[in-house]
């Protein structure tokens, strides 16, 4: 690996982690689409900030972007409160309008500056190593790495400092209000952090990747654990993994790094979605199948127990009678019987069934459970 490649990957990794730890809360608080809206509208803040200070590297732009982020959230809340439109439509109205204003401002007044609408969406990680940070004349690494590293540390510090407040307002906003934790304030602070993260990342990875990194790794982590700190750490790790794998995918395809990282983050989520030990699709399907058989077997032993020792037991315990009584088709009845015999719930003498001790217990337990 060349130092260029290492620089790009390090920057991508800190960006992924900065997004992922915030994203955990966004996914839990159902604010993913609000985040998507902010990721588009901060462009307006950047444009307006740029018109004021005439410098694309100025930290003032971050304030502009954060202000527009808060403006977006407030406008959406205002529209919702007016009850003229529903919440989802409010988001769908506000962000395209603010974004359109930004795009028109750029193409009308900033056509000759390096402020390209495509670059906002895509970013260009490949240019990261060329923009160096110098301290006392020494080259200490790419500027983007320090910028996103700083954003990561800032987000991390916020989460560590206000962990209790964040957790409470995320899982029980009513209780948080009652205890005086001001969930609304936390909501706005969180949204400000999202805006700052988006604007820090916008010329590095673009707004799309920010949303992908804020949603996909936390969503995957959410399917893997029930424990909030573990979920946050896991999403940071999955984000970092997607960043590195995405870089190499882009390297081999000669395609956009941000797009590749988003794609890999999607693939990681898809894998987790299929294979997660308890909540994945496969585990779900296996559990449903197991429950189906268990239920049928339990019905069988209950049926046998019901008639055990009674005069009609001889008639009721005939194998051929099952199909009629349980309304099972032949194939299904055979399989239920086979599983019950193998697992030792019933025994078979000729064409008659009888319960084993195990089977009798199962049937009695099933009764007790109700």
């Amino acid at each position: 690996m060349t130092t260029f490649q290492i620089d790009i990957q390090l920057t991508a990794v800190v960006t992924a982690m900065a997004c992922a730890i915030l994203g955990g809360f966004l996914v839990l608080r159902r604010m993913a689409m609000l985040t998507d809206a902010i990721s588009h509208t901060v462009l307006l803040g950047i444009v307006i900030g740029f018109f004021i200070v005439q410098d694309l590297a100025s930290p003032f732009l971050i304030f502009g972007a954060a202000a527009v982020g808060v403006l977006t959230v407030s406008l959406v809340a205002l529209l919702e409160r007016s009850r003229l439109v529903k919440g989802d439509a409010a988001i769908g109205l506000v962000y395209p309008v603010l974004f359109s204003i930004a795009v028109i401002l750029i193409s009308r007044f900033a056509g000759d500056v390096h402020l390209d609408t495509d670059a906002v969406l895509v970013g260009e990680l490949a240019f990261i190593p060329f923009d160096r940070l110098y301290v006392l004349g020494y080259d200490i690494g790419p500027r983007g790495f320090y910028l996103m590293g700083g954003v990561f540390l800032f987000n991390l510090a916020f989460i560590l400092l206000f962990y209790k407040e964040l957790k409470l307002s995320t899982f029980d906003a009513g209780l948080a209000t009652a205890l005086g934790f001001m969930p609304l304030l936390i909501h706005y602070v969180l949204m400000t952090l999202v805006s700052v993260t988006v604007v820090g990342a916008f010329d590095i990875v673009g707004s799309v990747l920010v949303v992908a990194l804020m949603v996909a790794p936390p969503a995957a982590a959410y399917l893997l654990t029930d424990h909030l700190p573990r979920m946050l750490v896991l999403s940071a790790l999955l984000g970092a993994l997607s960043a590195i794998a995405g870089y190499w995918l882009a390297h081999f395809l000669d395609a956009s790094i941000a797009g590749s990282i988003a794609s890999v983050a999607g693939v990681v989520f898809a894998l987790v979605y299929l294979l997660a030990p308890e909540k994945g699709l496969l585990a779900l399907a296996r559990r449903r199948a197991r429950q189906k058989w268990e239920f049928a077997q339990t019905m069988l032993v209950i049926h046998l127990l019901n008639h055990e020792g009674l005069p009609e037991a001889h008639q009721e315990s005939r194998v051929a009678h099952l199909r009629e009584h349980m309304r099972w088709d032949e194939d299904f009845a055979d399989r239920v019987l086979h599983r019950s015999l193998v697992q030792g719930w019933v025994t078979q003498q000729g064409s008659y069934l009888s319960l084993t001790e195990n089977g009798r217990q199962r049937a009695q337990q099933a009764f007790l459970r109700d």
Binding site: K86, D88, A89, V97, A212, K279
Partner: protein, 375 residues
């Protein structure tokens, strides 16, 4: 540029005529289907589908190596469809909520589309030029063939919407009732979502994947303010869509830097803003006036009641009270003097000199009626 010239250009200038026609077809179809999306709280589904269509467009090009509008539209529709299915499956099978599933599918599909787009752009194949117009749309590059494809697909979507009107209405307002009548609500849901995908696909080339969702949401949200009837809302929504499309196309043809997509979206936004302010019954100004009227009425009634009570304290029902006394018992509700003047105008109180006010017989009757109602 004067209005006559603009009208002349709309009719006879090839570029402007094509762009305006394209934008109005887009506005018509997305307005009509957007009304259903907004009513069914699927505004953001449109956003997700339109972002998710990008990889479909690029893959359709990579496979066929043509940029025939119909081919790209089919690619976009398939990708949008797959995205919707995946999203539904995530919502159904995991604890991730709708919001997270939308954000996830939207950003991942869009990222994948960008990856494919940049990959394609670096291929030694000049035919890919112009695919990136699908990001923000390039209405100015619309050709007659594109508009014909849009009209064909859009016409089909509107025809189906008309044919299944009753069923879709039922689906949007009372799904369970429809199911109990024996309509296949699941299949109707799929059909309506498919029509939504068609509407999105039609607009991609003109306004781009990023802003397409606004064309679904804005006209419908504006139309919702003016009416409570579905039929009228769909008509108005289409009308607003066409209006935004044509106005946006005209403005962008005049001003430098007004790209068509964002300009059309801003026009739609302006229509929403206007509707929210001025629509009767629901609009903000209407609401404000109604609240003001109600507040005045309440103030007036409470002053009348206060006067009646205070008169009851004295043997003489005509006993006059000072403005200060009335203010004191009004407990800071305000508007006492205005209310008194209004009451005097109605002949329910009379002014007995130097800020003294007394009930007239008519006022006493009215106050009794109010108290009776109050109990």
């Amino acid at each position: 540029m004067d209005l006559g010239q603009i009208l002349y250009d709309l009719l006879f200038d090839y570029t402007l005529r094509t762009v305006a026609l394209g934008a109005s077809i887009l506005g018509l179809v997305s307005g009509a289907l957007g009304a259903f999306a907004v009513l069914r709280r699927q505004s953001l589904l449109g956003d997700a589908i339109s972002h998710a269509a990008l990889p479909g467009v690029v893959l359709a090009f990579l496979i066929t190596r043509t940029k025939l509008p119909l081919v790209l539209m089919v690619g976009a529709a398939i990708a949008g469809w797959l995205a919707t299915l995946w999203m539904m499956s995530i919502i159904k099978n995991t604890r991730i909520k709708e919001d997270g599933a939308l954000g996830l599918v939207l950003s991942v599909f869009f990222g994948f589309g960008l990856m494919l787009l940049t990959f394609t752009q670096r291929l030694p194949d000049s035919r890919q030029a112009g695919l990136d117009h699908f990001l923000f749309g390039q209405a100015a590059a619309l050709l007659a063939g594109d508009v014909i494809a849009m009209a064909a697909l859009g016409g089909l979507a509107l025809l189906l919407l008309g044919l299944f009107w009753k069923e879709f209405k039922l689906l949007s307002f009372d799904r369970e009732f429809g199911a109990s009548l024996g309509f296949p609500m699941g299949k109707l849901d799929i059909l309506l979502t498919t029509l939504l995908v068609v509407a999105i696909v039609i607009g991609l080339q003109a306004v781009g994947v990023v802003l397409m969702s606004a064309m679904l949401v804005a006209p419908a949200a504006a139309a919702r303010q003016w009416t409570d009837r579905l039929g009228i809302m769909v008509l108005l929504s289409s009308l607003f869509g066409v209006l935004a499309g044509v106005t946006g196309a005209v403005i962008s043809s005049i001003g430098r830097g007004f790209s068509t997509g964002p300009t059309v979206v801003l026009c739609a936004g302006a229509i929403v803003f206007f509707s929210m302010l001025f629509a009767p019954n629901r609009g903000l100004i209407w609401n404000w006036a109604r609240q003001r009227r109600n507040r005045r009425q309440l103030h007036m009634e409470s002053v009348l009641r206060d006067l009646y009570f205070m008169a009851g304290q004295h043997a003489d029902p005509d006993h006059a009270h000072s403005l200060q006394a009335l203010r004191a018992v009004s407990a800071g509700r305000g508007g006492v003097q205005v209310s008194l003047q209004a009451l005097e105008h109605k002949g329910m109180v009379r002014h007995t000199g130097s800020d003294q006010w007394a009930l007239t017989p008519a006022g006493a009757v009215e106050a009794q009626r109010l108290l009776h109602e109050f109990e």
